[in-house]
Amino acid sequence: MSLSSLPYQRLTYLENFGHSLRAASYLYKPTTPEQIAEIFQFAKKNGLSVTLRGAGRSYNDAALNGGGIVMDIQDMNRILEWNPSTGVIKAEPGVTLQKLWQHVLPDGWWPPVVSGTMYTTLGGCLGMNIHGKNNYKMGTIGEHVIELTALLPTGAEVTCSPSHNADLFYALISGMGMLGVFTSITMQMKKVYSGLLEVHAFPAHNLHEHLNAIAETAPTHDYTVGWLDSTATGSGLGRGQLHTAKYLHEGEDPNPKQTLQVSYQTLPSNLFWVFPKSIIHYFMAPFMNNPGVWLINTAKYIASLRESRYRQAHAAFHFLLDYVPNWEKAYGRGGLIQYQSFLPKETAEDAWRELLTLSHKRGLPSYLGVTKRHRPDKFLLSHAVDGFSLALDFKVTASNRARLRDMLQEFDRIVLEAGGRFYFAKNSETTPETALRFLGKETVERFKALKRRTDPHNLLESDLFRRVFGSL
């Protein structure tokens, strides 16, 4: 084999969202299914593997492929059809959630499921089958897909829906981009009568109260999400603040025409009207250490003790993190990782008490904790359970890596024993053994069988796939 024709000039370092991992790949940005098919051919001829990449917002190696090809599909970003009377939209996979909500909101619709950032692409969101702060009520994003088309590495184009090619439908969505490439997605939007949500913010004084509050508010609210002060110890362990939200009914918003406008929703580009947002992460950096984060979390908690009710724009409620662009850079050179665990409602409290206590004992506190309520779904590589999730962000430094790794291994053991699951968009250290345990042998076998069918030459491989499924 002579590889002198390898496109070295395309080599690029790509990173995970947390800037804690990088890999060198041949980067392609196709704009049509024909170009995608050509890249598959080229890859096959040259013995290279291919990974799909949307906005690269996964916290781990899901969209990385060291030494192989990365197909960035962000330039396939056209909205193909939009019906403002039915709320059905057809779009290419590179369309971001930002573009999506901005397209549909003026007509009185909102994406039924969104992530905590709007910069993610539809392709990436379906690849991981994302959930929102309404997972317990609306399920995952895949549950709102009416139909999709995908290009398989074999060159075949397939159309799937819950009733047609259902096995592929439920595996392509959640399949981490390992079975085929979404080329178009048809989805149902959710009708809204206002650009505002009715928000209620209130404190929870400990973990028990925290989880109870989520469970109790969920049935009567459209969204519920908790911020967990992961630096608090002792009787305050697991304390935090909850935000619940309800859509406004027809007539409740005196001026929906105005609030449904994109300009009404848009995040301000200056914080306190003076600092351009793009530089705020520099001001955060000095606080991104154990005492600094303790200070910020404690201050935030004290502020949260005052219960409040207010109306807030959808975008502001959902995409709080986008207020500070590049906030993740405040974590410094080593970057950050996220550890998210999904636990049945019966075991969550005890398991997380153990996790949080362990992190304090080891002197490795998480800097940000977020809790949500979930329900199970039918997708093949599902992360959801009838219970809760807790996402913990950790700063990575040269000196804490080994200790953090040991601790996360213990976390995995605790979560598995409590019947928990993990999410392939987030955790970066999940081992094949752990994955096998929470997915079960049958699921792994079904996934592998489907992969043999759609991708007989194993062209689609990511670093995530090799790490977790390579030896299974």
Binding site: T12, N60, G67, V396, S428, N458, S471
Partner: protein, 262 residues
């Protein structure tokens, strides 16, 4: 499929990676050990697969995990270089450091004029280097990062009576690396030229005359090379006192140099 020998690179187990071409014995083997001890994962490249296997097994046993992997390859098989490099890149995921250390020295008598011997030296010491440095240079150029190290020699600083082709191969390598440095520095790539003096390896053991001074072991040489790598030096004599000596030697006028016997 992943290389079953290597643990996956993750944020909590990141990988620094290196290729050492000419890793099976002498300086290259010592440098491979040193880099592994410094936390690198090293692709050990050379012809003698058995030696590479033994070396890697020894390193991996010492560290309790895979830090060195053998990639048998002959640098004069120029066409197979890109594929070997690609295989290593796929296994490692990225490349931080590339060391070209492969080299041979055929001893020629003062009355011997042998094209085959000269060609062999130029092919291994120079053309093999060029075969590797082109794709590696292209990669690092595109990636805007990386570190290239070439093991040249004090022998390249002057054309001596006893080693025309060896001297020429090292002089050419030194100049090639200098050009590469001037090309790649602006892309964030470091190029380091190492000029060892006498190192106690098979090359010296085969030499007819044994009038060596400042003789160091391969381990000492590897230590010196590592220091130069860490300091991102452009050129480093190993051991450093050779810098001064070669400064003098480079300035010996030709009418005297012609009469010298070394």
């Amino acid at each position: 499929m992943p290389d079953p020998r290597l643990p996956a690179a993750t944020p909590l187990r990141p990988r620094r990676t290196a290729i050492v071409v000419g890793a099976s014995s002498g300086i290259g083997a010592a440098l491979t050990r040193k880099l592994a001890a410094e936390g690198y994962t090293v692709a050990a490249v050379a012809r003698r697969a058995d030696l590479l296997e033994t070396l890697c097994a020894e390193i991996n046993a010492a560290h309790g995990e895979a830090r060195a992997l053998p990639f048998p390859h002959d640098v004069t098989d120029y066409d197979s270089v890109p594929a070997t490099l690609q295989k290593i890149l796929r296994t490692f995921g990225h490349l931080d450091l590339f060391v070209y250390n492969a080299g041979i020295q055929h001893h020629v008598r003062l009355d011997e004029f042998d094209f085959e011997k000269d060609r062999a030296m130029l092919e291994t010491n120079l053309l093999g280097a060029v075969a590797w440095l082109n794709p590696v240079g292209a990669m690092f150029h595109a990636l805007k990062a990386g570190h290239i190290v070439g093991i040249s020699s004090v022998a390249g600083d002057r054309g001596r009576i006893g080693a025309p082709a060896y001297n020429a191969s090292k002089a050419a390598l030194t100049t090639y690396l200098e050009s590469l440095r001037n090309r790649l520095t602006r892309r964030g790539v470091t190029v380091t030229t190492i000029k060892p003096g006498f190192v106690d390896t098979d090359i010296l053991r085969a030499a007819p005359k044994k009038n060596f001074f400042w003789l160091i072991t391969s381990e000492q040489a590897a230590e010196g090379i590592w220091k130069a790598i860490r300091a991102r030096k452009q050129t480093a004599y190993v051991p450093p006192q050779w810098g001064l000596l070669m400064l003098i030697i480079r300035h010996i006028p030709s009418f005297i140099f012609r009469r010298l016997s070394f």
